[in-house]
Amino acid sequence: MRRALLLSMLCAVTLQARAATYYVLVAGLGGEPDYEQRFTAAANDLDKIYKSAQGTVHVTTLTGAQATATQLRQTLDGIARDAKPEDDFALVLIGHGSFDGVEYKFNLVGPDVSASELATMCNRIAARRQLIVDTTSASGGAVRALERPGRAVIAATKSGTEKNATVFARFWVEAFQDPSADTDKSDSISAMEAFIYASKKTAEFYDSQKRLATEHAVFNDTGSGEPVRDAANGQGLLLSNFTLLRLGTSQMAANDPAKRALLAKKDDLEQKIDTLKYQKAAMDPADYKKQLTDALVELAKVQQELDQ
């Protein structure tokens, strides 16, 4: 996703080119064969997807008997040893969760792990940009414990009281398989794009089944306060900038010195378009359309030159 802070994003993208991303995927205790199979399949699908991502990626997936608190702790300790501040870290929890009104627990084989224990483990990881995607039931009860500046937290449920098994994980996986999730056509899927995709598909699932929705996904990426459902008031920037999967070769041009001037021009135009869109409500519609068309035509020409 693109936002106004394009130059800073460009820096981030450039850094990302060198930095690594650590993914940890955990399929918790299913309890029943159907859930066990579903959770494991989702984790394995994500494993394949993230391993296929461009750049330096490290994917660790814990399923079945491996999905224990001890194993999870060892995995995160290992990442804490290896990861650098410029690296990205993403933890995806799939399965059942519980919330007793005070504490959230992720159900694992053997002892469960609480949200505060998870937070402690993740806090030891140096990566400045972190993402925790908790797709379990009652996961809304984990958000406050997991919040920290520089960490985006996504939960499948708005609170710990939404305790029914969730379907969010299914659509989270689908977001990386369905090209339509790339809504800004940037050849990459950001955490925000995946969140929007999965939330929408989850809502549609309940709607089409004529069932009362028992999960409402939320996020917090400012490090404090209540989780929200939509990007606004500073919420959503980190998720938008957190690229989880690159689909194409958008990175290549950035590494070509001959095209830097064009890239700078492209950035200017993109910034101009963002500004125009921001001012749209206050502008004369005809004037808006003309200015937008001019800028988009110009941008298209620049891109054409870049592609040559």
Binding site: T183, D184, K201, E204, D207, S208, K289, L292, V297, A300
Partner: protein, 734 residues
């Protein structure tokens, strides 16, 4: 509210208080229109030392809460009689609380199992719910008290609702013979006359002789007119009721609801608010007001022949299909029925089934998908139902048939015929939409529960067993199918004309088919047995085999499923509902990786009328995989009649297929719907649309759409290329 029968009972019960007024006296004054004396009488009762009298007094003064308090006090007295519970129950019934009313009637029956009044109360409750027990309760009341005129009045009303005017008249006469002021019986007489297009004046004069301001008689008549599709005439009688009794709030409310059925909004709103503000707040009034308020969320689309009211959230997704289909239907029916509709047809489409249900308040057949009020149709939106259980196209053809037939007959048509013809028309539009023998239909055929055609209306209004309404739809539809097969389609039109000339069912059948109703029944039953007799006879066997098949599928024993599935289908090929053999076999073929066989069984499912979107989409995928683009297109287009809303995938796939086949108008339609459905990939949808416009030579629209795509995703390269292409100056021709 029926009061008369209680008057005599109470007068007798209270004869000890010879000098003071008793409730029966007061209610008699009220019934005969002596308002001032009645008020004074009820006032007197409120001063009584008897709590029950006070309750009746406050009731008569319409001071409901005080009346209830006094009833509570009265019932706490030791040995309080069953009759007091019945009366309290009737008060609850009058004040829209049928649950407590029913409990009190049952309580009274426990105390006194021979209490005819309690049975009458139960009959009243059942009548409003179109429950066939209404007649049983009324008959029980008469058995216990043969002189209970009100029970005969109620039976008369029920018979007329079932379109049995002769029986209605007989019951009404019994009531009048018992009590010469049986005003509701007289109202039934008047309704019978009106429904037969004769003057009701003689009966209205009799009513007025007893009470010149008895508005309830006109409400009674108006309700019957509505049940006989005479919505405009019902308005006239509700208005007369109000003219006679301006404070008759039930008349205001029902006038409002009837006017809504005729497509009006302002006057219904006024009438319903008036009722509500005067404490007449039954569910129908409250829900209708809420519905009127929700109309701000609807868009209205009008053209020269149609008005479509669609919820704003889905109007862009439904309009292109529904408006086109409506025009097709009108053209088809105009030709077939050789007539033109006098005005615009209004179709209201409700995404919330409860809103649609409000529109059917007071009408029989509550599980309906659509309902027609003259030239106004109210129906469920596809989004009101679980995908796969509803075909809006079939419903629209069905309801539009009613519009034509009601118009052609000036609303004089028996229910069985207009419903049967409408079902027949669904099958004429598409064999996949034709009348399907559901399990309850097979059971009814097997158990010989089909009704004689002369009494078939009874199966629609007061069904005697669960699902009888569905069975009656099937029977009426297949009777029309049979007539068309045996005598030709034109005979159905001839019958329409007969009904327009006020012929009865036996007359219309005799004149057009040359048979008596009994002869038609006999031939029809032979025909239906030929069609479904074997399936019906082996229904239990089929059920057992299907159960075994489901068990095998659950165990993933696909060899068993594929071996036994064809025989299960052959026993009952029409069965396409839950856990049908087609789907189980398709699953088996999929597991085996046999795409060709999977496509074949899904095609058979599709042709048998199967409509689950996931199955049809899977079939389309298989067809595409086999290079059968046209077949895939046809399969997906079926889905537009089933669930065209909230399905990005469907419209994207359809758009792509149409675009590939250079059917650009269709592609534009599908991509427009896709773009309007708030897709995840807004830019992609706009770009697809731009491409289709561009291919269709509509460059201005193509530019608007591509700009829409790039506004969302400025770096979208294919869209950028199209924008540059659109910016090229046109080539100069020499």
């Amino acid at each position: 509210m029926r009061r008369a029968a209680f008057i005599l009972v109470m007068m007798l019960a209270c004869s000890l208080a010879a000098h003071a007024a008793v409730p029966g006296d007061c209610w008699a004054l009220h019934k005969h229109g002596h308002a001032a004396q009645a008020q004074s009488c009820f006032d007197g009762l409120t001063q009584s030392g008897n709590a029950y009298y006070r309750a009746e007094g406050f009731w008569g003064l319409e001071e409901w809460e005080q009346a209830k308090q006094q009833f509570e006090t009265a019932l706490k007295q030791p040995n309080s009689p069953a009759l007091w519970r019945v009366r309290y129950g009737m008060l609850f019934h009058q004040r829209f609380n049928d649950k407590d009313a029913g409990d009190l009637f049952q309580e009274a029956l426990k105390m006194d199992p021979q209490n005819a009044q309690a049975y009458l109360g139960m009959a009243e409750l059942s009548t409003e719910g179109f429950d066939s027990k209404a007649s049983e309760y009324a008959a029980e009341a008469i058995a216990l008290d043969p002189k209970l005129a009100e029970a005969h009045e109620l039976l008369a009303d029920l018979e007329l609702s079932n379109d049995e005017p002769d029986r209605a008249v007989a019951e009404a006469d019994k009531a009048i013979a018992l009590e010469d002021d049986a005003l509701d019986a007289m109202a039934t007489h008047a309704a019978v006359e009106l429904i037969a297009d004769r003057s009701p004046d003689a009966w209205l004069a009799k009513i007025q002789a007893f009470n010149p301001a008895y508005g309830e008689a006109y409400v009674h008549i108006a309700r019957q007119l509505e049940l006989h599709y005479r919505y405009e005439d019902a308005v006239t009688y509700y208005r007369k009721a109000i003219e006679l009794e301006p404070r008759l709030w039930v008349a205001h409310s029902e006038l409002g609801i009837d006017l809504m059925r005729l497509g009006k909004q302002e006057e219904p709103s006024q009438e319903l608010e008036l009722s509500y503000n005067n404490d007449y707040r039954d569910a129908a009034t409250v829900n209708s007001l809420k519905l009127l308020d929700s109309y701000k969320n609807y868009n209205t689309f009008s053209d020269t022949t149609t008005i479509l009211k669609l919820d704003k959230a889905e109007s862009a997704q439904l309009l292109p299909y529904m408006q086109t289909e409506l025009h097709t239907i009108i053209t088809t029916y105009q030709k077939k029925y050789r007539m033109t509709l006098p005005g615009l047809v209004q179709v209201e489409v409700y995404p919330n089934h409860e809103d649609f249900a409000v529109r059917t308040t007071g009408m029989p057949g509550l599980g309906a998908l659509g309902v027609t009020f003259g030239e106004v149709i109210a129906m469920d939106s596809p989004s009101a139902r679980t995908p796969g259980e509803f075909n809006w196209g079939a419903t629209l053809w069905h309801e539009m048939s009613h519009v034509f037939i009601l118009t052609a007959t000036n609303h004089r048509v028996p229910r069985w015929f207009t419903e049967g013809l409408a079902v027949h028309e669904e099958g004429q539009r598409s064999p996949e939409w034709s009348n399907r023998a559901t399990p309850e239909v097979l059971i009814a055929i097997r158990d010989k529960k089909l009704l004689p055609v002369a009494n078939l209306d009874r199966g629609f209004v007061y069904p005697e067993y669960p699902m009888q309404v569905n069975v009656s739809y099937f029977q009426a539809g297949t009777i029309c199918d049979f007539i068309a097969t045996r005598w030709g389609e034109d005979k159905l039109l001839d019958m329409v004309h007969s009904f327009a000339r006020l012929q009865t069912t036996p007359q219309a059948i005799q004149q057009n088919l040359g048979e008596s109703t009994e002869q038609l029944d006999q031939q029809y039953l032979a025909w239906i047995n030929q069609q479904y007799g074997t399936e019906a006879a082996h229904f239990d066997e089929w059920k057992d085999k299907l159960k075994a098949l489901v068990g095998a599928a659950e165990q993933k024993q696909y060899d068993t499923v594929l071996r036994q599935g064809p025989a299960v289908i052959a026993m009952y090929p029409e069965y396409v509902n839950d856990a049908n053999a087609y789907e189980l076999m398709a699953e088996g073929y999929k597991a085996r990786g046999d795409a060709k066989a999977e496509a074949a069984v899904l095609t058979a499912y599709e042709h048998a009328g199967g409509q689950m979107p996931d199955d049809l989409k899977r079939l389309a995928t298989l067809q595409q995989g086999a290079g059968q683009s046209s077949e895939a297109l046809a399969t997906l287009e079926r889905l537009n009649y089933i669930y065209p809303v909230k399905d990005e995938d469907l419209h994207r796939r359809l758009g792509d297929l149409l675009y590939q086949q250079k059917q650009y108008d269709g592609a534009i339609r599908e991509y427009n719907v896709l773009a309007a459905s708030n897709p995840v990939d807004k830019a992609g949808a706009q770009f697809d649309l731009a491409q289709a416009y561009f291919a269709a030579g509509q460059k201005d629209k193509a530019e608007d759409s591509v700009l829409g795509a790039l506004e969302t995703a400025p770096g979208y390269r294919p869209a950028q290329k199209l924008l540059l292409e659109l910016q090229k100056p046109p080539e100069k021709s020499n």
